[in-house]
C-alpha cells in the first residue's frame, strides 16, 4: 500500500500547485502558506473522505489541522 503522506502530497501538488510552485513537502504550510485557501479546503477534505472512506466532522476540519501534509495524515488516522 502506498504511503498515505505521499498520496496526499501528490494530490495537493496535482490539484493546488502549478509548475512554478510545486516544491511542496510534507511540512510546507498549505493553508497559512496560501497554497490551499479556505474554500478549496472543502475539496481537499472531500478527497480525504472519499479516498479513506472516513467522515471528518466540520469542527475538526480547522485550518490548523489541514496546514501541512504531516498534520493531515494525523487527522485522517484519527478518523480511520
Amino acid at each position: 500500500m502506498e504511503n498515505m503522506k505521499e498520496i496526499i502530497l501528490e494530490y495537493v501538488i496535482e490539484e493546488y500547485c502549478d509548475e512554478e510552485n510545486d516544491d511542496v513537502t510534507f511540512d510546507t504550510p498549505l493553508i497559512s502558506g496560501g497554497i490551499v485557501d479556505s474554500f478549496s479546503m472543502v475539496s481537499l477534505k472531500r478527497f480525504l473522505e472519499n479516498k479513506y472512506k472516513i467522515s471528518i466532522p466540520d469542527a475538526d476540519a480547522s485550518p490548523e489541522a489541514f496546514d501541512t501534509v504531516n498534520k493531515i495524515e494525523v487527522l485522517v488516522k484519527r478518523f480511520q
Partner: protein
C-alpha cells in the same frame, strides 16, 4: 477624540467640499489618486514615514516609506510608459497581496492608465472574461500565476505585455512577457503624474450579477473625495495609527480602503500575505501593534470559532478601533468582539458599485448589534417600495435600499455595458440590490439580497456563471446553482445537477466537478456541495426555477409554483 466627533453635528450643512478643501482640490483641478497617495504625502513632510509594512510567509518582511512608494510608483509608471502603455489603457494587476500589487496600483494611476485588479485565485476562464471585457493592454503578474495567463493568451490579441515582477531567469520568458523587478530597478526620481481630471477613469473592478457575464465597475479619480473622508470619519484613521485592512486588493475593499483611503491620509498600513489562521492573525496584531483593524464577518466568525482561549496568548491591547465589511455582521459577532477585544466591530455597508461606505456605524455613536448603522453624511438613503419605488415612510417596513446618485465614489458605468448600468436605477434612486428596513431611530437593518446573487464570505458569485461552467463538464446535463446557508461564510455555493447518460452519480464525480469549477472559475465559485437530481424544477417553458431549490435549501415557503412544469 474621534475624527468625526458628533455624527449628528456632521450631518448639519454637510458638503463634500470638506474633503476637497482638506485635499487642496478645487473643481476643475487635476486630481490623480496615485499622486495623492505618494507625492503629496511626501510634500507634506511624511516622506520618511512608513507607508507599507508587509509580511509574507515565514515572517519575511519588507518595509516601504512614503518616499519609497513615491519612487517605486514613479519607476513602475515610467516602465509602463516606455512599453507604450498610455492613459486610459487597462492594466490588470493579477498578483497575491505582495508589495508590487499595492505600489503597482499607485504607479498605474500615476500613468493615467486604468488599474484593473483581479483576484489572484481566479481560474483561467474567470480571468479571460474579465480581460476580454476590459480589452486589457497589459497584465502585471507573478510566476506562480502566469501559467493561467499563458493558457488563454492566444485568445487575447489585445494583451500586448505580460509583466513578471518576480522573474528569476531560471526559465526563458515567453511571447509578450517582460521582466520587471520593482526593488532592483533604477528608481525614477521624477515622474509627472498624468493630469487626470475628476471624471477620468481610475479603477475597474469586476462584480457578478444574477445573469450575464461579470460587470466591470468603472470608477473615476474623483472617488478619492469620499474614500478619503470615510476613511477619516468611519475608520477614524489618525496620524499615529498602524492600520490593517485584511481585504485583498483584487476586490474593492482592498483598493478603496486597503490603498487609497489610508495612503491619501498618510497612514502606515500593514499587510499580511499568508493564508488565514487565528494564531497567525493574532500574532500579526501583537507584533505590528495594529491599532485600527478593518476586516470581514467571515474572518471574524472564523476567529470566534477558534475560541476565546487562544486570544489570551496574545497582547492585543494596541487595538483601539475595529470595523467590518463584506456581508452583514451578525449581532453575536459584535457582542463577541466587545467581550474579547473590549471593542465592537463597527459594521459598514457598501459595495463595488458605490466605491465608498454608504451606511455605517460611527465611532461614538450608539451601536445596535446587527444593524448596518446610518447613512454617511452626504449620502441620501432610503428604503423603497418594491413595486412603486417610492420611499417607505412606515417604520420597520421592509423594502429595497435606495441611494440618491451623486456621491463622489459612485460608479460611472459598467464597462461596455451601459444598458445594464441604467437598469440599476428606478425612480431616480440607485438600487444596490439589497433589502432592508429602517427602525424608529433611523438605523438600517439588512434583510437579504433582492436577486439570486450568492454572497459567500463577502464575495458575490453569479449563479449563472457557475451554472454555465458546470455545463462545460462532460458529465453534467443540467445545472442549477443557489446559495446554501453557512455558519462562517453566511452563504456558500450549492449546485444541483442532472447527469448525462453513462455517468454515475457518486462521490468521486462530485469531487471532480468541484475541482473543475475551482480551476475554471475560482475557489469561491466552487460548489461546496453538489446534489444529483433526476430532474430539476422547471417552468412549463423550460426555465430552471432556482427559487424552488433556494427555498428548499433555506427551509422557506416555496411560494407560487403554478408555472412549474408537470412531472
Amino acid at each position: 477624540m474621534s475624527n468625526i466627533g458628533s455624527y449628528e453635528k456632521r450631518l448639519e450643512n454637510f458638503d463634500w467640499s470638506i474633503a476637497e478643501k482638506e485635499l487642496d482640490y478645487k473643481n476643475g483641478d487635476n486630481i490623480n489618486i496615485g499622486w495623492y497617495c505618494s507625492d503629496r504625502i511626501c510634500e507634506m513632510g511624511k516622506a520618511n514615514k512608513p507607508a507599507l509594512i508587509w509580511e509574507g510567509l515565514g515572517g519575511v518582511e519588507k518595509q516601504y516609506t512614503f518616499n519609497d512608494i513615491r519612487l517605486r510608483s514613479n519607476t513602475i509608471a515610467s516602465f509602463l510608459k516606455d512599453l507604450g502603455i498610455k492613459n486610459e489603457d487597462r492594466v490588470c494587476l493579477f498578483m497575491d497581496k505582495i508589495p508590487e500589487l499595492y505600489i503597482g496600483f499607485v504607479g498605474v494611476l500615476k500613468l493615467g492608465a486604468v488599474a484593473q485588479p483581479l483576484f489572484s485565485a481566479f481560474g483561467d476562464e474567470s480571468l479571460h472574461v474579465r480581460l476580454d471585457n476590459a480589452q486589457t493592454t497589459a497584465i502585471v503578474t507573478q510566476r506562480k500565476h502566469v501559467s493561467k495567463v499563458r493558457k488563454i493568451l492566444d485568445q487575447m490579441p489585445y494583451v500586448k505585455h505580460i509583466i513578471l515582477v518576480d522573474y528569476d531567469g531560471s526559465k526563458p520568458l515567453r511571447e509578450r512577457e517582460v521582466a520587471f523587478n520593482m526593488d532592483e530597478a533604477k528608481q525614477v526620481e521624477n515622474f509627472e503624474s498624468f493630469p487626470t481630471k475628476a471624471e477620468s477613469p481610475s479603477v475597474l473592478h469586476y462584480t457578478s450579477g444574477t445573469t450575464g457575464q461579470p460587470k466591470g465597475v468603472k470608477h473615476v479619480h474623483y472617488s478619492l473625495i469620499s474614500q478619503y473622508l470615510t476613511s477619516k470619519w468611519v475608520l477614524d484613521l489618525q496620524d499615529d495609527d498602524i492600520y490593517w485592512c485584511t481585504a485583498d486588493p483584487g476586490w474593492v475593499t482592498g483598493t478603496s480602503y486597503g490603498i487609497i483611503g489610508p495612503w491619501s491620509l498618510g497612514i502606515t498600513q500593514c499587510v499580511l500575505d499568508t493564508g488565514f489562521s487565528a494564531e497567525s492573525w493574532y500574532k500579526f496584531i501583537e507584533k505590528r501593534k495594529i491599532t485600527m483593524w478593518y476586516s470581514a464577518p467571515t474572518a471574524i466568525r472564523s476567529l470566534m470559532k477558534a475560541g476565546d482561549e487562544i486570544i489570551k496568548q496574545y497582547d492585543l491591547s494596541s487595538l483601539r478601533h475595529l470595523a467590518s465589511v463584506g456581508e452583514p455582521l451578525n449581532a453575536e459577532a459584535v457582542i463577541w468582539s466587545e467581550k474579547v477585544f473590549g471593542k465592537a466591530f463597527l459594521d459598514t455597508y457598501w459595495q463595488t458599485e458605490t466605491g465608498s461606505m454608504m451606511l455605517t456605524n460611527y465611532p461614538g455613536m450608539k451601536i445596535k448589534p446587527g444593524s448596518m448603522g446610518k447613512p454617511f453624511p452626504g449620502i441620501t438613503a432610503t428604503v423603497l417600495d418594491t413595486k412603486t419605488f417610492e420611499p417607505i415612510t412606515e417604520t420597520g417596513k421592509p423594502g429595497l435600499i435606495g441611494f440618491k446618485p451623486g456621491w463622489p465614489a459612485m460608479m460611472r458605468t459598467y464597462w461596455r455595458n451601459e444598458e445594464t448600468y441604467q437598469k440599476k436605477f428606478e425612480n431616480g434612486w440607485y438600487l444596490p440590490g439589497d433589502r432592508a428596513y429602517i427602525d424608529i431611530d433611523g438605523y438600517y437593518w439588512f434583510i437579504g439580497r433582492d436577486d439570486d446573487v450568492i454572497n459567500t464570505g463577502g464575495h458575490l458569485i453569479s449563479p449563472f456563471e457557475v451554472e454555465s461552467a458546470l455545463l462545460e463538464h462532460e458529465a453534467v446535463a443540467e445545472s442549477a446553482v443557489v446559495a446554501k446557508p453557512d455558519e462562517v461564510n453566511m452563504e456558500v455555493v450549492k449546485a444541483f445537477v442532472t447527469l448525462k447518460p453513462g455517468f454515475e452519480a457518486n462521490d468521486d464525480l462530485e469531487l471532480k466537478i468541484m475541482n473543475f469549477i475551482r480551476k475554471k472559475l475560482s475557489p469561491l465559485a466552487m460548489p461546496q456541495e453538489i446534489e444529483y437530481r433526476d430532474s430539476l424544477p422547471k417552468t412549463r417553458s423550460g426555465k430552471i426555477m432556482r427559487r424552488v431549490l433556494h427555498a428548499q435549501e433555506w427551509g422557506e415557503e416555496i411560494g407560487d409554483i403554478s408555472t412549474l412544469e408537470d412531472d
